[in-house]
Each structure stands twice: as C-alpha cells, then as structure tokens.
Amino acid sequence: MSDVSTPVVAARPRLQVAKLRDLALLPAILVLLVVGFIASPIFLTSGNLLNVVQQQSELGLVVLGEALVLIVGKMDLSLESTLGFAPALAMVLVLPTSENGLGLGLPEWTALPVCLLAGVAIGAVNAFLVLRLQLSGFIITLGMLITIRGLQQGLTVGQSLSSPNMPSLYYLGNAVWFGVHASIWIFLALFVIAIAFVGYFRHGRSLYAIGGNEAAAKAAGIRTTRVAAIVLIVASVLAALAGAMMVGHYGSITANQGSGWIFNAFAAAVLGGVSLNGGKGTLFGAMCGVLMLGLVQNILTLAHVNPYWLGAINGAIIIGALVLARLTTGKAQD
C-alpha cells in the first residue's frame, strides 16, 4: 500500500511485484469472466454483474470488517452471528407479540439505530474479552458466535421475523438509488472509504503496524489496544449494517441467518491476500475476493451444473484460482 502514488525511479522492479500481489486475483477474475461468457451470454450483461454485486454486498461488509480485524492481527468469528442478532433484536423490540416481537412498543424508527448499537455493544464485549482479559481471539469469538446466535434463538423462540411495517429497517436492502440498488452503493462506498483510510491516513496505517509487530507499533507511540478495540467495534457495526441490509433484501431474518458465513468471509479475505497472521494484505484484494466468490456462484448457476457435482466443481475452481494467483505473482501465500 505504500506504493500507491507516484513511482520512484529506483523502486521500479519491487514496486511492480508489490502491486502484483494486491492484484493477484485479477487474472483469476479475468479467466472467470471469459468462462462465464462462454457459459452464458447473459453473464457479461451489466444487469447480471450488478446482481452479483448486490448478492455479495452483505457478505462484502462482513469481509470488510473481518479484513480490518485480520490486518490489525486479531480475529472475529462472531460477526456471522451479529449479522442475524442485531436486526433481530431491533425487530423484537419494535414488533408486537402478534408478529413474534416482545411487544415493548419501541417506535419503528428506532430499529436501524438499535441494530447498529447492538453491533457496537457486541464489538465492545469482544474487545473487552480479547484485549483486556487477553483471551484467545479465535476461541472467545467462537464462544461469542455461539452465544449470540443462541440469544437470537431464545429471543425469537426460533421464529423468523418479518414485518411489512418496518420501513426503516427494510429500506437499505431494498432501495434503488440512481437506478442501482442502494446496497451496491453502500458496498462500494464503504470499501472506497476504507481503502482510502488504511492507505492514506496515519490511523489507518497503524492497523498494519499493529498487525505486523505489535510491540514495535507500541514503541512507535501507537495506542495499540485502543486501535484494535475500535477496529473490533467497527467490524461488528459493519456486520450489523449488513444484517439490516439482509432484512430488506430477503424480507425476513431467520434464526440461523448468517450461519456459516464467517467461513466465506475468511475465504474472501484470505483469497484476496489478507494474512491470518496480521499486518498483510489489502482491502482491495479482499473486495476482489468477495466478488470472485460471487462470480463463481453466478457462473455455476448459469451453467446449470449437475447439482450433485456442484460442490466438487466449486472447490476445484477455488483451488485453481489460488494456483493461478500463485503462478502469476510468483509469491508464496500465507
């Protein structure tokens, strides 16, 4: 990321490699575009490609959050539960008992703020457990994943929630701005903002420093705990926002909303070059990872592959893309 603007003459060769690494997925994406076009002429239409982006927009926000958390050298598995819990909490607080709510009668407009606040709260609990109590991030956020999903299950008695009368919560996943789904704008805007933030701002850069060598970052005057805490909270809020978008997109929240998503979120981020060891990878790469996963699904659907062999083909494509990325950049991955 440090090599984003004007090239420096002496830097030429290395600069290229560094850039290549960030762009490692592009060849694979290109190949996919060609394959997709062969599979179906519809594939390359803007309508279809926008569909793909829309379908990936919620996962995209989770990936953005997870990528930030990974870059700062931590982990958060609980994002996948936050995705369902945050909007579900907002809904049970607002909805009457006849619609599976708690009947507390909170005004409808509070739904979106409550949803996002739930994100803040979960992020704060994670931060407390991981950073203050210094518990293992993997296992503690796995515990949080189970707990939060369980809370949702308990609060909703396992029911899925939906209501025609909650415009505030349904808006984002449904609205169309300038002819394109709002969720696509949100997805792109948040990624652009985040890319700029971690690329061009001191506080953004500190994520890489902390993830790369926490003791050194501390020695350099960075408030490592505070930054990591903020990142964990932001990631949870992003997941909550994604959950709100899902309500409008899919019309309801089921008790297992987001189940298994964290795998995909890690997959997209790592596919895009983000390292599980922290301090490495770019958000642009993570975004490519999300889009690539979406393209693969889209092509498989368009190609009407035998459903029994779908899984094997899906997996083979992912492995193939990695090998391709490895061959085109020549860099070991981690």
Partner: protein
C-alpha cells in the same frame, strides 16, 4: 537540568529480579554510557525509560517532570527516542514507512503523501549513509541494514534525548564511524544520549559519563575520563581483571577439514578457494558488503552456491542442505540469532541440544535428564545467566540468547565450526568464555571459521582472510596490527602476507 532521572527502580519477572533498586541520572547534553554484563538489567531499564514497561517501584522524571502515563504513548515519544536491542522494525511495511511510522503524514497533514514520504525517506537514508531502497519491504533487509534503519529513525526524530541499546553490535566499522560522527554533531546541537554497548573502547570514544550495573544493581557512576578500561571491567564483573590471557592451543594439524573450491554465489562472491586444517582457527573479515556472511551461509547449507564445492573431512556436502552439513560434521552460529538462531517458546536446554537430540536417548527418544545435564554444563561453560535449563529462551537477555545459539553450535562437537558474528551483543567477560570455548573446540581437533569484523574475535585466529567485494583481498597470519587489517577491510590498503 537532567534529561532523565530514575530513582529506586525495581523490576521483577516472576522469580527473576531484573532491577534491584537502581538509579541513574543522565545530565542534559551528555552522552552517558550504561554498561554491565549480559543480563545485568540494562535493556530492562531502557524499557522503563521509554514507557514500555512499568517499574514495580521507583520514580522516573524527564527534565524534572514526572513521566507520562503508560498508556499515553504519544507523550512518551516527545520525551525520548530509542533504538531498542530487539528490532522494532515492522517487517511487512516498507523501509520508508518504517522510518516514519506513526508520523507518515509528515507535517501533521491529514492525508499521507507517499511520494513525499519516499523522498524524505531517501534523504534520511542518504544522510546516514544507509544504502537501501526505501521502497522494499523491511522483511528483506539484512540484520545490519535493519539496525541502520532503526538508528536513522531514532536520530531523525528530532528528539532531545535518545537511547541507543547496543546499536553497534551488528554494524561494521565504517557504519559505526558514521554513527559516531552523527552522534557527535547531534550532541553539539544539544542532544542527550544514553548509550549501551559491550565494546568498551566505544565508551571511551564518545561518552562522557558511564554507569555500571551488575546483577541488577547500580555499581558506580563516574566520568569516563576517571576510569581505566580495567577498572571499568572490574566494576562490571566484580573481579580483578586478567583479560587477554589466551590459552595456547596445540599446533595446527596437517589434514584439512574444510575444503572449498571455486565457490561462487551471485553478486555476493566468486572464485573462493579455502582450506582449513584440524585445530586451525581461521578468521574471515570484511565489511557488510564483502560477501563474508554469505560465504559462511553457503558453507553451512543455509544458501545454495551457484558454482563450486564445499567438502568437509573429504566428503562433499550437498549444496543448500543444513541437515547434510550437520550430518557432515558442521556446527554453526548464524548471523541473525532471532531469525535462525533459536525457537522462542522452547527452553534453553531444548534449543541448545537440537543437533544432538538423536544422541540423548534410545530409539529417537529424548531423556530429559540427560538433556538437562548437557544443558547445565553449557550454561556453566558459557556463563549463561538464567534461572535454569528449563527457562524459555525468549525471556533471556540478548547476550545470553546469543550464548544459547553458541551452545547449539558446540553441542555436536563438530569437525568444522562456522561462527558468524559469534560475539554480537556478548559482554567482555562472556566474550572470553566464548572464545575459550572456541579454543577448546580447536584444541580438540575442530577446524574453526570465525566470520566477523570484530577485531577481538579475530585476534586469537591462526590467520585472517579479508574479503572485499566478493573475493579474498588479503591474508594475515596471527600478529597483525589493527590498522593494517582495517585498511584492507575498508579496501584502502594492501595485504601484507600473501
């Protein structure tokens, strides 16, 4: 006014008392040396003075004001800049960004201008004569380059008080000279230094005051001019000095142990021929760019040569294979102890006995008792300051970690010992122990290659080869003078004994 004053500082790590009620006062504008044996508590004090660690008790003031809160990192940065003993380079970032870490927005602007940052980085590196591309990932730097970047960063900061914890341990002569010039001019501009080094001549060269710690206690603080080197060593060790009494070795044998033919590696070196005989200690000197370290790494299998052969006791070694080298009777100390020297998280005993793990029990098993016996012997011989063979190497002081790496090299009683910068960060007295151990190995019939630009390391050698830009520029039998050797190392002199 005092730049810093620390009083009644005590710090424990579990059972270990790292600092026991020590005090230090560094007056404004002076260059103050802090010396003491490995594990005396110097680096621990540094971590207190830079706000990375809280003393269990005691008080620290900067220019009379109490030290900032531990969490207020930014405030600490305004008080003191530091080159830590342990690298604080962030390997995943570029050199340029490492130089300006957490101040990338150079003049407090909101947005970072990378082109400006790179230009400034080039300037800073140029100013300190550091020959690295600011755009490479710091992970690709050599130990020496990394150290230079850290120094350039600390000095460029504009701080009025700078701590340098063994900055010279990994530097070659000219680099040290440049550092000292820089320090002198900064001092002239009013900058205060706290300087830690095990090279005592450096203390006399640039420091005005010296403080000695021993066994976690403050021993003495005195103007440098009032102390002789022997007095200083005595304060450090608590014993009267008998330095330099090198035990004489039996005569060098006739059969050669190491035979190198026409060895070449990329831009690093080419056409190297060398034989080392039983009981012979050969030094290889040279500057950082001479290729001497790379030569050592090829011999032990850490790198693969482009051409040529390495044979030990008559058998060619498989190129680029450490296991093959070890099996062929090689033992070695790598240049970068953190990278290749030890496994943090494992005990001293385990780290020191890896090469002989197969001999510590039957059927591939390891007898913990025998391992600890071996380790205890090494701890004793090399004077490793530790709570015991079970201690995690990560918790040792820097110099003691280096001794563990040395212990690992010696453990297999190798036919050929290759030692790269073996005494980096090791205190004067312990250096003697290490060199004694080398002598004992040679006396027992090993061939030894000492790759170093540390004159103290080279002095006991039977002969010293000097490399310059990838080839052997001169050879000196024992008895050379510092000046003739240094001039060849720096490429400005003629070899005497060819």
């Amino acid at each position: 006014m005092n730049a810093v004053e620390a009083s009644n500082i005590t710090k424990r790590f579990g059972q270990t008392v790292a600092l026991n009620d020590v005090h230090i006062t560094v007056a404004d504008g002076e260059t103050h040396a802090l010396v003491g044996r490995n594990g005396a508590g110097k680096s621990t004090l540094v971590s207190m003075l830079t706000g990375l660690n809280r003393p269990d008790s005691g008080e620290i003031t900067f220019r009379g004001e109490p030290a900032p809160a531990l969490s207020d990192r930014q405030a600490w940065r305004t008080k003191v800049a530091c080159v830590y003993q342990k690298s604080t380079i962030i390997p995943t970032l570029t050199v340029a960004e490492n130089l300006f870490i957490n101040r990338q927005n150079l003049d407090g602007g909101a947005v970072i201008s990378w082109s400006r940052l790179r230009r400034k980085a080039s300037d800073v590196l140029g100013e300190y004569g550091v020959d690295v591309d600011p755009n490479v990932e710091a992970a690709t730097l050599t130990v020496e380059q990394r150290q230079l970047v850290e120094i350039a960063r600390a000095l460029s900061f504009g701080a009025k008080f700078i701590i340098l914890d063994e900055p010279t341990a990994q530097l070659d002569g000219p680099a040290i000279e440049r550092l000292f010039e820089r320090m002198r001019s900064l001092r002239a501009a009013g900058v205060t230094f706290l300087f830690i080094s095990h090279h005592l001549q450096e203390i006399f060269e640039i420091c005005q005051t010296v403080t000695v710690f021993r066994d976690a206690r403050h021993i003495v603080t005195s103007p440098v001019a009032d102390l002789s080197k022997d007095q200083l060593v005595e304060a450090m060790t608590g014993e009267a000095v008998g330095l330099g009494a090198v035990a004489s070795r039996p005569a060098v044998g006739s059969e050669s142990v190491l035979d190198i033919r026409d060895l070449a590696l990329g831009k690093h070196f080419s056409g190297i021929d060398l034989s080392v005989r039983r009981g012979e200690v050969v030094g290889i000197a040279g500057s950082a760019s001479s290729g001497k370290v790379e030569l050592g790494e090829v011999i032990v299998g850490l790198r693969k040569a482009d051409a040529g052969t390495v044979a030990v006791s008559g058998k060619s070694l498989k190129p680029g294979s450490v296991p093959a080298a070890l099996a062929g009777g090689v033992g070695f100390v790598p240049e970068d102890r953190h990278k290749e020297g030890f496994v943090p998280g494992l005990s001293i005993a385990e780290n020191a006995t890896f090469p002989i793990a197969g001999r510590l029990g039957r059927f591939g098993s390891i007898s913990g008792r025998r391992r600890d016996q071996v380790a205890a012997r090494m701890i004793d011989e090399l004077a490793i300051k530790t709570s015991g063979p079970d201690q995690d190497v990560a918790d040792l002081s820097g110099g003691n970690q280096q001794k563990v790496v040395m212990a690992r090299a010696l453990s297999s009683e190798p036919d050929l010992l290759v030692l790269m910068d073996p005494t980096a960060g090791v205190d004067v007295k312990s250096k003697e122990n290490l060199l004694d151990a080398v002598d004992r190995a040679a006396a027992a019939g090993a061939a030894v290659l000492v790759i170093s630009d540390e004159l103290d390391d080279l002095r006991p050698c039977d002969r010293v080869l000097v490399m310059f830009h990838g080839s052997v520029a001169g050879e000196f039998p024992a008895g050379w003078t510092d000046n003739e050797l240094v001039s060849v190392i720096e490429g400005i002199g003629e070899s005497s004994g060819e």
